[in-house]
């Protein structure tokens, strides 16, 4: 009997400690805006099926998104985005793997707003580059709302913009991330 209780207790504590450290979403929102300053129209797209995981213990952060899931208002723009710029048949996924460098400053057990710094590697169009950005975590009722904005130079990721559309598509793109993560119950 004692053994059973011990094992049950052991399993229980194990599962609690394993559970209490990872938060995730599969419906994260990532917006991409490459509108040039002079452009009369918005070159922007949104993807609402990004996967995100935050490990609250280690501060590890991971995002992955299917490039074909970015949706533009204009169909032609979306086709050009996939075929000419992102080559989504060749590079179907974009990923970010990094860490919250000031993770110890975040108390995940307490509701509140925390400014975070994130550092990691972003893979877009088959090219991996180091990226650093500020972000924000809002912890409320056991959920984490994570947001971050950062810019990338398209040329860094071997994405070239033809002269013909250079007045519309900028040299850099602003990427905004907004995710509501919940506790992962394995």
């Amino acid at each position: 009997m004692k053994k059973v209780i011990l094992i049950t207790l052991g399993v229980f504590t194990l599962s609690v400690s394993a559970n209490s450290q990872k938060y995730f979403t599969k419906a994260g929102k990532i917006t991409f805006d490459a509108t040039a300053a002079s452009s009369p129209e918005q070159i922007e797209a949104v993807n609402r099926s990004a996967t995100a995981v935050i490990d609250t213990k280690t501060g590890a952060v991971q995002f992955s998104v299917l490039v074909k899931g970015f949706s533009f208002e204009r169909a032609l723009m979306e086709e050009h985005f996939n075929e000419n710029y992102m080559e989504s048949n060749k590079f179907p996924k974009s990923e970010f793997k990094g860490t919250i460098t000031n993770n110890s400053a975040v108390d995940y057990s307490k509701d509140g707003n925390y400014n975070i710094k994130v550092q990691g590697k972003l893979t877009v169009h088959g090219v991996t580059k180091d990226v650093t950005t500020d972000g924000k975590l809002v912890i409320q009722g056991g959920k984490i709302n994570a947001t971050a904005d950062f810019s990338v130079q398209l040329a860094d990721y071997s994405i070239s913009i033809p002269g013909l559309v250079a007045d519309k598509v900028g040299k850099s793109a602003k990427i905004s991330v907004s995710c509501s993560l919940e506790l992962f119950k394995g």
């Binding site: 419906a27 609402r48 998104v65 299917l66 949706s71 208002e73 204009r74 979306e78």
Partner: protein, 151 residues
Amino acid sequence: MKPTRKKILLYIVLPLLLILAAGGIYFYKEYNRVHKDTAKLKPDFTLKATNLVKEFEANEQASNKKYWDKVILVDGVVKQVEKDDRGFYSLVLGDTASVSSVRCSIDSLHSSEAAAVKQGTTIAVKGICTGFNEDEMLGSDVILTRSVVNK
């Protein structure tokens, strides 16, 4: 015989103008083209959500080639109805015992139909396949975009 003004006008200028006008209309339309409503598209493939997941799990590359950008009609048990802070819906279909699913991101024009869907019921959803997002811990999903609940 010298070509008359009338003939030049009739055989050269007029056709040129017509071509220009047609080109102009074509580019204008093409440029302003929006996505077709998925509800009005004919499915390229019709299958069970669980079988679609199985196919991708067995061979992602071949399945990508087969299903990318195609209109797929899947049916299955609703594992989850998700609504984000902006009111956008995702319907998750598949085997409740498995972590992997078909995740359908619902076209905002058709939110109200998705809102009426109940967890645990069996429904059919039509959407455009964007691929397979693999994740060992969270389970791997086939993702459909601009999806609509099929009627």
